[in-house]
């Protein structure tokens, strides 16, 4: 999560004022989570942030709203499930900062990894996935990045988790063979990850 001051520096005056109000509403909900009926005002801000703040700061601002509202697991799940692709991205990016328990957070990551929308795939392979995905799911997430041309720069803790992973190395090797057999280029990222596993290229 990026600090508020850094976010402010990227916003114009009207957008900054709008974000001020949105964050105040989120903080209000965090302080009194069960107060009121209907949709919490900050959630309407969360949904409409794009047209008030612009695309450049959208992810960071939405993550800040989620964290400021201190959303719990059921709320994060609901916001994800009822969200646009852009809103789902923000929930995925916020999972680690929110400290959502794996029983609630991992299903959201798995949902995003089933998507072919690369915006969701890229947001799913952050620190939360690094901390909580089991080896099989994590390897498939890495492979999915290679398949959909999501840069493995998006994969958090890639070096640590890939290191010594012989099964990942096998999967990468098989994928490389499949590409070569089809006369298609092997993605540069594949060589990078293979090197991180410590396996020799065959």
């Amino acid at each position: 999560m990026i600090p508020r001051a850094e976010l402010d520096a990227r916003l114009g005056g009207a957008a900054r004022a709008w974000l001020d109000e949105a964050l105040a509403e989120a903080a209000h909900t965090a302080a009194r989570p069960s107060a009121g009926y209907g949709t919490a005002p900050w959630e309407l801000r969360f949904a409409s942030a794009g047209r008030h703040l612009g695309a450049d700061v959208l992810d960071d601002a939405r993550v800040l709203l989620l964290v400021t509202a201190r959303v719990d697991a059921p709320t994060a799940t609901r916001i994800y499930q009822q969200g646009t692709a852009a809103e789902r991205r923000a929930v995925l990016l916020a999972l680690a900062d929110l400290g959502i328990e794996p029983s609630a957070g991992v299903p959201l990551v798995e949902d995003a990894l089933r998507a072919n929308d690369t915006r969701l795939v890229a947001a799913a392979v952050g620190p939360y996935a690094a901390a909580h995905l089991d080896p099989h799911a994590w390897r498939h997430a890495v492979l999915k990045c290679l398949f959909t041309a999501v840069s493995v720069d998006a994969v958090a803790s890639l070096r640590e988790r890939a290191h010594g992973d012989a099964e990942l190395a096998r999967m990468l090797g098989d994928y490389a063979k499949e590409r070569i057999a089809a006369g298609r280029p092997v993605p540069d990222d594949l060589h990078r990850v293979l090197a991180l596993t410590g396996a020799e290229e065959s």
Binding site: R51, A55, V121, A123
Partner: protein, 282 residues
């Protein structure tokens, strides 16, 4: 030439269509929520569809350099099925979303009391959410349907200049224009309007507040009809400014009433430079 197709159901089209549309000059589309051919039997089926209009479909469009927005509503045909009407209660949570630029398609199909209710309720929702409304006029008994539509709009909280009356033709354009609404024309291979009739209507009524769309869907239709109308306009002596007004500036002005139109297409870049559609077939 830049083209904005203000009514096209891309969910029903292929990536070949996106490619051909881009080559023809299409840079922006609006996809109205509508009937899918096969009737739906539960609200959840609508919600997955609405989510696709706010997730997968704009992603697909962006892969081909086309900005995608949508309109959300319970369509008139399914407004008659009590299994579907609970959709109306869930619309507010969709109408706040960034990618939603109007309430639509609403309007009449068979002009039933259930359709009266859905139309009035959704015009009210549009007013409450600061959105314009995209109102389709019925295929059967069109002129009567248009008049009834205009009456319901007049009784609503939404000003006529925030309403687009669509699927107009020679028999309905005059009264639609007199109502103060925006005028939409769907150009089809066999039914609705064709290119030459469209040019004749533009000649007679002028290009102001006129929007031309392909309304392409799963039926016999052509996603390049917008370009074909532009070419027909030029051939008939309209200048490039008039073409740009009808095929770009008018749709931008109408859907821009939402304050949510974002035509700066950021190709899925940075962390997501990939192309899972192009790559998906490999």
């Amino acid at each position: 030439m830049r083209i904005f197709d203000p009514h096209i159901h891309m969910t029903s089209r292929t990536t070949d269509d996106y490619e051909a549309m881009y080559a023809a000059g299409v840079r922006a589309v609006v996809e109205p929520a509508f009937w899918l051919g096969q009737p739906r039997t539960s609200p959840a089926s609508f919600f997955d569809y609405f989510d696709a209009l706010l997730g997968w479909e704009p992603f697909r469009a962006a892969q081909y350099g086309i900005a995608h927005h949508c309109t959300i509503a319970l369509n008139p045909k399914e407004a008659n099925d009590p299994r579907c009407t609970p959709v109306l209660d869930e619309l507010p949570r969709y109408l706040v979303k960034d990618g939603v630029v109007a309430v639509g398609e609403i309007g009449y199909d068979s002009m039933t009391p259930a359709e009266d209710h859905a139309l009035a309720a959704q015009l009210q929702l549009a007013a409450e959410h600061g959105l314009p409304a995209m109102v389709h006029t019925p295929h059967r008994d069109k002129l009567t349907g248009l008049r009834r539509t205009i009456d319901v709009v007049r009784e609503s909280a939404l000003a006529p200049d925030r309403v687009l009356l669509d699927h107009l033709n020679e028999t309905t354009v005059r009264e639609a224009k007199d109502s103060g609404a925006w005028l939409g024309f769907s150009v089809y291979p066999d039914t609705k309007m064709d290119e030459d009739r469209m040019v004749a209507v533009l000649d007679e009524y002028g290009p102001e507040k006129v929007l031309v769309n392909s309304a392409a869907d799963w039926g016999k239709s052509d996603p390049l009809k917008t370009r074909k109308v532009a070419d027909a306009m030029l051939k008939a002596g309209f200048d490039e400014d008039a073409v740009d007004l009808v095929l770009w500036r008018n749709p931008v002005a109408f859907y821009g009433l939402s304050g949510r139109l974002d035509l700066d297409l950021t190709a899925p870049g940075a962390l997501h430079e990939g192309n899972s559609i192009l790559r998906g077939g490999e």
